[in-house]
Symmetry: C2
Subunit: 355 residues, 2 copies
DNA sequence: GACAAAATGTAGAACGTTCTCCATATAACG
DNA sequence: CGTTATATGGAGAACGTTCTACATTTTGTC
């Protein structure tokens, strides 16, 4: 018998549940029972099976599992991977999932409704156990339709009336109010918001919520019935152009609230280039408290909504939903102000919790 | 005449390949053939089947597909989601995948070998069609073992001798050389590198490659036989501490090359805080040309390795491997210098391609 | 026309799990 | 000892695809 050199160790060497069963001298069903620790397994059987699993380094096929039962995977859908807020959410999700037997698979939709839909469908077709959607673009009815097929928790999606899925949000209205209150407290009266220019402004989006909060706080502060909001395009050549135009307006406001640090930081940069001093000529406050904002070079005051915490909460909610909860939950977190030099010279990284 | 009307073929409303077959009045196999556009389908059959697919909005189950054949999904493994270089790679991957029938699912390993392994295993267990690993931590032998089970392309992993998988890299040695050459061209002689303090320094890692390039260029420039390299820890409290210590050294070098923009930008920030002028007192050049580096506020000279392009190339390589290629490929890109104010006052965003 | 070759469609066996019955073996009870 | 409950293990049918092997029809050739 010649020693046949297996030059092509084909995939037939896969260890399946059957291999384990044979090795342990039990039935396939028994192994499955042990894996799912179902009722009706003696200690002796359990020991033999776990030994075999150990010895063979057996891993159940997720594909096969998905076909029949649970896949122990949860899908995460990100609208964008560049906004530094989103990695924070992922970190939160992974943190909660790490000690469990679940795993996260991430899809990036690049803010395209088309792609978002097909990614969600794929995750359903993979028989994932649940979905965390971060700032989805899809309308609520569509999400509800998906939610019939798979447990869904939406983060950064304001629809407290949704009954088919859960939502987890920072209170974006309140966040914007806090920003305005901070500007007012510094004595600024001439305040404008730089918002996101979207095609159609979803009422559910965080951006619109922040606009609502901005308006309310401005009116409450006695600053006109329709406070100024400028829309900045998201794509790159037009974006800087719009900001420059804003900065060189001769009725340019004294203070600005930006919907996101991403915009605030670019604004700060352009302001410097154009010779405007911050905060002496222009005070700026952003949103997200990204790590870039905290840099000494940037020193941008910002609203902190703790993406990490949102991710954690959303994941816990999802798991409880997977495990049977059906009544929908709508969770709110209160964001906080992080004051820095872009707001006022003395405001040196003081983390001020506000309700 | 068998009048066996199906009592309840599907209790839930899922549209399966069987539903389509019944609706089109053909066999399941025929539908499958059309889906995979396999040999032996007449135009008439194809038309009937595609009509039925359309009418029923049929989507094949990815789980079931994975169990038998291909799943049309490729897995992407990211070492970290915070380094802004990585989203660029994702953008490249998604760009190439978008027009195809493939889809990307992303896993984030957080630089944990443990998690990295289990994520790769999961992707294999999902029967994904191939894997793009971005800056994996695992040793080459392990990757080779995985590569037997699934096509693999590694990005940012220098192992040109690997035969089981492909690699796609920017030439990190050359990149570091370009950085040193740029510093030399500005007249600086007193140059040090700020590198990453890892537990064990993988020779395959981009960081080690940059160190090699740094050393070579320094020696070639006649600057000592063992140029100085300082290691900076990656975790946050120690990191800033080490940088501050570096900045306040009284033999602090005149110019610094940082392994990554992430470090360079923090360094710039701390330098400002500590009253060092850039570039008059300290010249800095980073790596990755992240969007933050390009900000006017930051104005960091950097080496551009176009993560997007790397992602595109890697994806194309992976697809060709999935479609049958077995000989391994090792692709190199040459990075380029983006000169900015942190290097020299006049160096104003001149993109200088260098070989 | 006869016969081979090519084209087209189908049946049915995988793929690796889960999970619902069922068949025992053992314990409990009168 | 029967008889019944209970604990334990196993058989085998799904799940929704892919794909080989084969049956049937059409086309081509002499």
């Amino acid at each position: 018998m010649p020693i046949e050199e297996k030059q092509k160790p084909q995939r037939n060497d896969r260890v399946t549940i059957r291999t384990v069963a044979t090795h342990a001298g039990v039935s396939v069903a028994a192994v499955s029972k042990v894996m799912r620790n179902a009722y009706g397994v003696s200690d002796a059987l359990r020991a033999r099976v776990t030994d075999a699993i150990e010895a063979l380094a057996y891993r159940p096929s997720r594909a096969a599992r998905g076909l029949r039962g649970r896949s122990f995977t949860i899908g995460v859908l990100l609208i964008d991977i560049r906004n530094p807020f989103l990695p924070e959410v992922i970190a939160g999700v992974n943190g909660v999932l790490a000690p469990s037997h679940y795993q996260a698979m991430i899809g990036v939709s690049d803010a395209r409704v088309q792609l978002e839909t097909s990614l969600i469908e794929s995750m359903i077709d993979y028989k994932m156990d649940g979905l965390v959607l971060v700032a989805p673009r899809l309308p609520s009815e569509i999400l509800a339709k998906f939610a019939v097929q798979i447990p869904i928790v939406a983060v950064g999606y304001h629809d407290a009336s949704a009954t088919a899925f859960d939502t987890v949000n920072a209170d974006d209205q309140r966040g914007a109010e806090i920003a305005v209150e901070a500007l007012l407290a510094c004595g600024y009266r001439d305040i404008e918001m730089l918002s996101l220019g979207e095609r159609q402004g979803h009422a559910v989006s965080v951006v619109r919520q922040r606009e609502i909060g901005f308006r309310r706080a401005m009116q409450r502060g006695g600053l006109g019935s329709s406070p100024a909001i400028s829309k900045i395009p998201i794509a790159s050549p037009k974006r800087e152009e719009a900001m420059r135009r804003f900065l060189s307006r001769n009725d340019r406001p004294r203070a600005v609230f930006c919907w996101s640090d991403l915009d605030a930081i670019t604004l700060l940069s352009l302001a410097m280039e154009m010779g405007a001093r911050v905060p002496e000529d222009l005070a700026v406050i952003g949103y997200d408290n990204s790590s870039t904002a905290a840099l000494g070079l940037v020193n941008l005051a910002s609203i902190d909504q703790s993406g990490r915490e949102l991710g954690q909460i959303a994941t816990r909610a999802l798991i409880s939903r997977i495990e049977g909860r059906t009544a929908s939950e709508h969770i709110f977190q209160i964001p906080s102000l992080v004051s820095r030099n872009s707001l006022t010279r003395s405001g040196n990284s003081t983390d001020t919790k506000q309700g």
